[in-house]
């Protein structure tokens, strides 16, 4: 056996054994079990009701599939067009080919000793931006309630939309009591209130607001962010600087396309309508005095966008996997996944479940490190039934197993 082969085998064995232990631990975790079974039931009931109230949704999903398909074909043009639009709108646009570049660009904009309020972002998890900025001497606050809980708990998200799905109110009360150094009852309303009070001051004293986006319209340079808590409104509007870090797969050609993608995304994420849809195109401005355009009125004076590739163009260049980039991250598939229903996000790494496994191969670890997840998928195919983009996850998983067994490398 060559040294290289031996090392590879050892790494793979280690990954398999650690992962197996995690999976076994997760399935005996009462918190996960309780929280997930409630969430699955609620998701199914709400979605059924929502689809009845908005019966045009599946048809619109079909339109979005076509928009996404075309967007993959025109990716390079869309990135160039969007970057130009951002500059025209008085923002600064950057392109990062990988994780490292993205982090360096962000860090150069921010510097050190700053306070950053941040909205929830899967790309943020993918490149570990919070940890990086903290290492550079900054303070970062996760403003999404679920992410904030995990930040304090030093844990990772167990669902892409409800990251702290596995933490019940009693545990939250414990964590908050510890952090705020005062007794917080296990009462959800009180838990929400204490974070609201704490965060309020952060929004208005922070140096930088950071967010991602659900959809980006290339023609107008419009960034669309769906949310319910109102934290994204605040952290993208209150601080003097706003930085958006977004994956290139979010780009679609036009503003009208973006609206369709937005509606389909929130609908399959079980919302009849979300509380807020933010559309941001540049820094805050006013022309109210003598029609002279001045930047930095009530909102940020500076606006930066970092488009991140980090494996996406490889995924989109591969006919077997380009469809995976259509994923809207509505999270619907996870509720239908028989494994996820038991283990939650233990089945996954940065991205979760079957589609997450495919994403992890290309963006966060490569084929070998993701191999335990590849063999966790049952390939049952119920995710495809739920998926508004009808992404053929079971066949992609199979293709990856084939490449793994054949000794191919994706890193």
């Amino acid at each position: 056996m060559s040294v290289q082969k031996e090392n590879r085998s050892k790494t793979m064995q280690k990954e398999f054994s650690e992962y197996s232990k995690e999976v076994d631990r997760a399935q005996h975790d009462e918190n996960i079990r309780k929280a997930i079974s409630r969430a699955v039931k609620a998701y199914r009931e709400t979605t059924e009701k929502t689809m009845k109230s908005y019966p045009h949704t599946p048809e619109m999903a079909a339109e979005v599939r076509e928009i996404k398909r075309q967007s993959v074909e025109q990716r390079e043009e869309l990135v160039a067009q969007a970057m130009e639009a951002v500059e025209n709108n008085k923002g600064k646009a950057f392109f990062a080919k990988d994780k490292h570049e993205a982090l360096v660009i962000a860090s150069e904009i921010i510097g050190t000793g700053k306070t950053i309020v941040k909205g929830k972002s899967m790309l943020g998890e993918e490149i570990h931006i919070r940890e990086y900025l903290e290492e550079k001497g900054n303070t970062v606050w996760e403003t999404d309630l679920g992410e904030f809980i995990l930040q304090l708990k030093k844990d990772r998200p167990m669902h892409i939309l409800s990251p702290a799905i596995h933490v019940p109110r009693e545990k939250v009360a414990e964590i908050f009591t510890d952090f705020f150094e005062k007794e917080i009852e296990p009462d959800i309303a009180k838990e929400v209130a204490v974070v609201r009070e704490f965060m309020r001051e952060k929004y208005f004293t922070a140096d930088v607001g950071m967010s991602s986006a659900n959809v980006v319209a290339a023609d107008t340079g419009a960034f669309v962010i769906i949310e319910n808590e109102g934290n994204v409104r605040l952290c993208t509007a209150a601080p003097p600087i706003h930085i958006i870090i977004v994956g290139t797969e979010k780009l679609v050609p036009t503003f009208q396309d973006a609206m369709k993608v937005t509606e389909v995304t929130w609908r399959y994420a079980q919302y009849p309508v979300p509380a807020y849809v933010n559309i941001i195109t540049g820094p805050s401005k006013t022309g109210d005095i003598e029609k002279v355009t001045t930047y930095g009125a009530h909102g940020p004076k500076e606006f930066y966008v970092i488009f991140v590739d980090n494996g996406r163009s490889d995924m989109e260049a591969d006919d077997d996997f380009k469809q995976a980039s259509h994923c809207l991250r509505c999270g619907g598939c996870m509720y239908e996944c028989p494994v996820f229903q038991i283990t939650a996000g233990t089945f996954g790494e940065t991205y979760l479940g079957g589609i997450g496994t495919i994403w992890n191969v290309f963006t966060s670890g490569g084929l070998e490190a993701t191999s335990p997840q590849l063999y966790t998928c049952l390939r049952c195919g119920r995710c495809v039934e739920r998926c508004p983009m009808q992404i053929d996850v079971p066949n992609m998983i199979l293709e990856l197993r084939k490449r793994l067994a054949a000794g191919e490398v994706i890193e």
């Binding site: 590879r8 793979m12 049952l378 495809v384 191919e408």
Partner: protein, 337 residues
Amino acid sequence: MATSPIDMPQKVERKMPPVLELIRGNIIKHGNPLALKGSEISAWAKELNLPKTGNLLFYTGGEYQLLPFIDSLVKTMTVMDSNSKGFSMLMGVRNILGKTGFAPEKIYASVLAQDKERFNEVSLKAARILQSLGYDLCYSGEDELYSGALLYELGYWEDLASYGQKVMEVFKSSKAKTIVCLSPHAAEVIKFAYPKMGINHDLEVKTFVELVWEQRDKLPKVNFNKSVVIHDSCRLAREMGVTEELRDILNSMNVEFKEPLRKGTWTTCCGGPNKFMFPELSQTIAGGRVSELQSTGADLILTSCPYCLSALEGAIDKNNRDIIADFIEFLYKEIVE
């Protein structure tokens, strides 16, 4: 197309998890994933004296016959390290291989004769049902080989490309135009995977359920005074598109059935597919599905896939296992016996 060595895709030698290698090795060497003998797999057919050639090939792929041995193998592998079942599953296989390689007689010593008999009989019952509906069957007997479905599932496509050719030779020697598969996994692989591997054929691939459905007018009305619930198999429902056929058959027989919350193409997986890699997780998933099915209040769960049968049964208490049966067993009891 890669034109220069620099553009060639990089390849490495990679050692796959031992449990997967074991299954792969058994299929290639012994013609089935658990290294059983052909004579053992085809023993059920002795009394039928089926011809080796004909128009309609009856294909068991040995899958029902293998079922009692799967659990034995999984158990042998999991008792080694009770602290970490997952870990031993993956690493402990080397220990059961020993110096002489895989020793079935050792691993399977604990398999009960009654279990072997029950699962051997599923194939016999299926053949008898089809005969009673007027089908003339041929069967390859000891020459029959497992389809290679697990090679496909686990990623060993290069092996399947050559192994499948051997399976195809056996099919071709039967001169059959149609092949009827008891396992939806076998049907899927022969119909969809073989052509992908360059194993071309013009066999018409049918499942057992479809053949029964085509002759459903011949089925007798029965007096079954309990209610049943159908567990749709993922492969049968999603890949083979067979869902309503099962219900039509029950309707033809006047059998009352209930529907679970998740059925047809929305069916819940039995957990079987990751039994070898994550046995505990697999069993938990199976337990969840059994609860879903039982919450309909039905007396009997019916499945139409060997792995669903094995997985779901594994999640039911040993003394209570008459609440589940294969569709084949149910039909046989009601219309042949």
